[in-house]
């Protein structure tokens, strides 16, 4: 390169965007100037770091509210767009009026849950389906949302008081999730969701199953979910 390489040229070289003849000249210049070679290296390292940083988004599950925009109407062929939008907003309003105070606590999951709740409904074998076994009961007794390890096999999603004043906790684990409420006998399983198989495969759709459970929790709850202090206090009282 007869003149000093400009910053633009150095970046373009690192990106493979220089025309062939200038690329060759740049190679020569780099061979003669280690500092130049180092600069190119830094550009490439930055590119690698950035693409690595954003790459995980590609593997994330796309939120239903986005895919719904593109799948819901596929059988209806061409639909008036404004009407579709109106319908969607009406559904949102309805959904949000059903969760006056604590949409915030389970927001993203709930958005995903509207469709899935139906599936959960099928798998729900009805109330009084039994009580939590010792292992689950121990988790429900002791584990606080704020303190649990992200790697915990069974995670408590949130805790709340149901309309009858009992403490209930929504949980999710490899072997399925559900909602259990504490009564005099123990943790009564109120809801149980399947999806454990799905949850343990590569296709685990993070939050999809949890979303269904949270939607159910919302139906049952008398008010907002317990915050960290509320949970702690409830635990101290043995959830009664």
């Amino acid at each position: 390169m007869s003149t000093r390489a400009t910053p633009e040229e150095i970046a373009a070289f690192a990106d493979g965007e220089l025309p062939a003849e200038r690329e060759a000249a740049m190679r020569d210049a780099m061979a003669a100037d280690p500092e130049l070679a180092k600069q190119v290296e830094r550009h490439r390292a930055l590119a690698a770091r950035l693409s690595q940083h954003y790459a995980p988004v590609l593997d994330e599950r796309v939120p239903d509210r986005l895919t719904d925009l593109l799948t819901a109407r596929s059988d209806e062929t061409v639909v008036d767009f404004a009407a579709a939008r109106q319908k969607q907003e009406a559904q949102k309003r309805e959904a949000s009026s059903r969760r006056p105070h604590w949409g915030w606590i389970a927001g993203p999951a709930l958005a995903a849950s509207l469709a899935i709740a139906v599936i959960l409904g099928d798998s729900d074998t009805g109330p009084g389906a039994g009580y939590a076994g010792p292992q689950l009961a121990a988790v429900l007794d002791d584990q606080l949302v704020a303190e649990q390890s992200p790697a915990a096999e069974t995670r408590v999603l949130l805790s709340f008081e149901d309309q009858g004043g009992q403490f209930c906790r929504a949980y999710s684990g490899v072997s399925g999730g559900g909602i259990a409420c504490r009564d005099e006998e123990g943790w009564r399983i109120e809801r149980r969701s399947e999806g454990s198989e799905a949850a343990s495969t590569d296709f685990r759709m993070a939050g999809a199953d949890d979303g269904a459970i949270l939607a159910q929790a919302q139906e049952m709850a008398a008010g907002p979910a317990l915050d960290a202090a509320g949970e702690q206090a409830a635990r101290e009282r043995g959830w009664r």
């Binding site: 965007e17 509210r65 593109l70 767009f81 927001g107 958005a111």
Partner: protein, 179 residues
Amino acid sequence: MDETSAPVRLIPWKAETLNTAFETDLLALLPRLRRFAIGLSGNPSDGDDLCQMTIERALANRSRWEEGTRLDSWMYRIMRNIWIDEGRRTTRSLQTFVDEEAGVAIGGDGSQEAVVELGNVDRAMQSLPTDQREAVLLVMVEGYAYKEAAEIVGCPVGTLNSRLVRGRDALMQMLGDEA
């Protein structure tokens, strides 16, 4: 690198079928669109709002997309235009109806996934002016050639090149050599 524009060049077909192909192609693009949106806005909840607005606008304007041209570039252009427009109105957040839900990202009660933690890269990216940020994202993350990125942004290639260099220099300064 363009795996999405091909399927639309079909034998004459019913309109519905083409519409479905359009939607199918958009679905396939969603992960990449989200990546760009999250990069532009700096966090997943604003990014998904931006994605949603982009899809809605694309569906409403689908007749303006020319078959045979690249759908991905068209979508990126819509998205960055919305982002620029929104940015003029409100710099921080898109302020759409999902705000209440988005609140989970920073509210919550300590459950791990509820916490948005901006890493160094996110912070550094957010400190760039929008024109530099989009140039960096399009070329260095989305992998567009300078010319393609310039077309998406709607500026000359030279302009894109110099925005890119300014953005890179700033990032390298902020991130140091930890890369």
